[in-house]
């Protein structure tokens, strides 16, 4: 039982990472109807920006190393600008083109960011610090160490990721559901022409969608980097899981993205634990196939709910 609980907890921690990136994917999909394959590489790129601020060598010039949270805020700003500029300069010329065309453009961005990052910072993995400890009335947040929950243990950093993922999810949900801008963004994604006729600045909404998504991705990158070491391909594995998580939860649902991520993390971890020879005495399955098992779960869910757990079916008038 202890093992089970511990594995579930570890799975939740991994799942929160998937959920964070899935949130960024859902954000762009929801506001612009595009699957962004460059999401992971954009997050990696912004995380390198944060690393430069923290490390004290900004583009080859020596600067005073910044405090983590100052660097964090600056990186968020950088992410917002990056997303907005990408949308205006790269995505705007292909706006309204077939979706596959836009998907290929994001694949192009994927390559550009991979290349630029290797070019600027080299391929050697770099350690990225986790957020430093903050003490609020005697209770410490972030920092090193781990928290005992009953018989199980979870590190503060894992806990931080979970809290951040759920926090961003709630904010986004409220944003889309209860603010006029959120409503305008949803309208833009569903029907740009009708939205424009209603007086919505469609172009601005698309820019905002990319900016927000890049910012969420930047947070994700900074949370994940301490776990996997900062290097150009650090987001590749996470990105594929994040896609799966987003689809599992429903491409247009921020809560779905996080829940999908958590489910994926837990399933993957439990399958990995309980299919070893110790527990399962068969030839045809083993822990090395945990990814396959997780994917089978997703496909089964999609068979029953073709638009994911929380996704809404798109209705069309004929």
């Amino acid at each position: 039982m202890e093992l089970f609980l511990q594995q579930v907890l570890t799975g939740l921690a991994t799942g929160a990472v998937y959920g964070l990136v899935a949130l960024a994917i859902v954000l762009i999909y929801r506001s612009t109807d595009v699957i962004n394959f460059a999401q992971g590489q954009m997050a990696m790129f912004t995380t390198f920006f944060a690393w430069m601020l923290l490390d004290g060598s900004f583009l080859g010039r020596n600067i005073h190393p910044l405090h983590f949270w100052i660097a964090f805020v600056l990186t968020l700003a950088f992410g917002i600008i990056l997303g907005a500029v990408l949308e205006r300069v790269i995505l705007r010329p292909v706006e309204g083109r077939p979706i596959l065309t836009i998907v290929i453009v994001t694949l192009g961005l994927f390559s550009v960011f991979s290349g630029l990052a290797t070019w600027s910072w080299g391929g050697i993995p770099k350690a990225f610090p986790p957020p430093p400890e903050i003490k609020v009335t005697g209770i410490s947040f972030f920092g090193d160490g781990a928290l005992d929950i009953g018989p199980t243990v979870i590190s503060y950093h894992d806990l931080t990721i979970m809290v951040v993922a759920v926090g961003i999810m709630l904010v986004l949900y409220a944003f889309f559901q209860y603010t006029p801008i959120g409503l305008a963004m949803r309208a833009t994604a569903q029907n740009p022409v009708a939205a424009r006729l209603m007086g919505i600045r469609v172009g601005n909404m698309l820019t905002l969608g990319w900016a927000l998504s890049a910012a969420v991705g930047a947070v994700g990158g900074m949370m994940i980097a301490p776990l996997v070491l900062l290097q150009p391909p650090m987001m590749l594995g996470v990105l594929l899981y994040a896609f799966a998580a987003a689809v599992l939860g429903g491409m247009d649902s921020p809560p779905g993205a996080v829940v999908g991520g958590l489910i994926l993390g837990v399933v993957e971890n439990l399958v990995g634990t309980y299919t070893t020879e110790e527990y399962l005495h068969v030839d045809w399955f083993g822990p090395e196939m945990k990814l396959t098992a997780a994917l089978v779960v997703i496909v089964l869910v999609l068979m029953i709910r073709p638009t994911g757990l929380f996704g809404r079916k798109a209705l069309r008038r004929v």
């Binding site: 065309t101 453009v105 390559s111 550009v112 070019w119 689809v247 045809w284 090395e288 196939m289 396959t292």
Partner: protein, 377 residues
């Protein structure tokens, strides 16, 4: 200006193309001085790769371009075809030529089965479900060692020129003709499929499922059929791949490859036979640009290829909305020199159709009006 009819121009293009494929590429080395550009054995191998890649691109284009279903999992089908062929040759001593149709048919059958659950999925959901297929395949191949020989893969001997051909062709040239023949046959098949009743049904379903249904087209039947046909092409490609490379392992078919197939057909031109082939050529020849760059000795040139590749993908999509095939069509419509006009007429004949694509089944009004760019005069 020389006055020619479209028919004459087509004939000229056909002769030029046949000369290029059948003589210039494979034999330019043997007869130095006869042709201006020499193709060494590495170049011949590249041409072979283009032919292989074109086969899977044709199949994927039938599914995605003509039928509007996105697949990010075609690497899995290629792997299945490759392993079928390799196992039959290695463990059961089949002659290589007999294994390739089997590889295609078996993969087609599996494609049909995959097409059944895919019926319920559209857009990103279908894309990720098929991506899951591509992700899981290497793990499965590695796990079932009894059948697949696990992670060390299977080595087979590439076919060598039989009998009398041995004096004329070396191994590289023989494999080139072999892949070219396969690609030629598959192009003819694809061409016939897309111009048949079935091909028109595919397009009708892509443009509007509801309208297609109203016209009496069985949507599930044709959608699964498109999957089966597409997988059949991928299986054939896998079979040819094994003969040419002589080796398969779980690592031969990673996810990136499946994604690259999709890029190939979009860059080449969706819903276009010529586009599939051009896309394959572009993809195989991209590394050439890199080696050109390395020759320039720019700073950090070893990182530049990624940036350059990404940037050119973006530029192609911005400036050639219908891919290379659409671009050639447009160039051919200007006042072109004879050769260009010939090629344009010729490919107009072999079924180049560039239409607007709406893989998600399209939005509301005007979705299917599209730009129908019809064949030649």
């Amino acid at each position: 200006m020389l006055r020619t009819t479209a028919r004459q121009r087509r004939l000229l293009a056909f002769v030029l193309l046949a000369f290029f494929l059948l003589y210039w590429i494979p034999f330019s080395n043997a007869f130095p001085g006869w042709v201006p550009v020499q193709f060494g054995s590495y170049r011949i191998f590249q041409a072979t790769t283009i032919a292989m890649w074109a086969i899977v691109a044709l199949g994927l284009n039938i599914l995605t371009g003509y039928n509007g279903q996105i697949s990010l999992g075609h690497g899995a089908f290629v792997a299945l075809g490759g392993y079928t062929s390799a196992i039959l040759i290695f463990d059961h001593n089949w002659p290589f030529w007999a294994t390739i149709p089997i590889a295609g048919l078996l993969t087609g059958a599996i494609g049909f089965l995959v097409g059944l659950p895919a019926l319920r999925l559209t857009g990103p959901y279908l894309a990720i479900a098929t991506l899951a297929l591509a992700l899981a395949t290497p793990q499965i191949l590695q796990k079932y060692e009894g059948l697949t020989h696990g992670s060390q893969g299977i080595n087979i001997d590439s076919p060598t020129p039989p009998g009398a051909l041995d004096n004329i062709l070396n191994d590289t040239q023989y494999l080139y003709f072999f892949a070219l023949l396969a690609a030629f046959i598959m192009t003819i098949i694809a061409w016939n499929i897309v111009r048949s009743r079935m091909g028109r049904a595919f397009v009708a379903i892509r443009d509007s499922e509801i309208a297609a249904q109203a016209m009496g087209i069985s949507v599930p039947r044709f959608k699964t059929m498109a999957f089966a046909i597409s997988a059949f092409f991928a299986g054939i490609c896998g079979g040819v791949y094994v003969q040419v490379i002589g080796f398969v392992s779980p690592r031969s078919f990673d996810v990136l490859q499946s994604i690259n197939y999709l890029t190939t057909i979009v860059v080449g031109g969706l819903a276009s036979i010529l586009g599939s082939i051009l896309g394959a050529a572009v993809f195989v020849l991209v590394p050439e640009v890199n080696s050109l760059l390395e020759g320039l000795h720019l700073p950090a040139a070893d990182q530049a290829p990624d940036v350059l590749y990404g940037a050119s993908l973006i530029l192609v999509m911005i400036f050639m909305p219908y891919g290379f095939a659409g671009f050639i069509r447009r160039v051919g419509r200007l006042q072109p020199p004879l050769v260009m006009q010939s090629l344009s007429d010729f490919f107009g004949q072999v079924g180049l159709r560039v239409r607007t694509i709406r893989p998600n089944g399209g939005g509301g009004g005007g979705a299917s009006s599209g730009k129908k760019r019809d064949g030649s005069s």
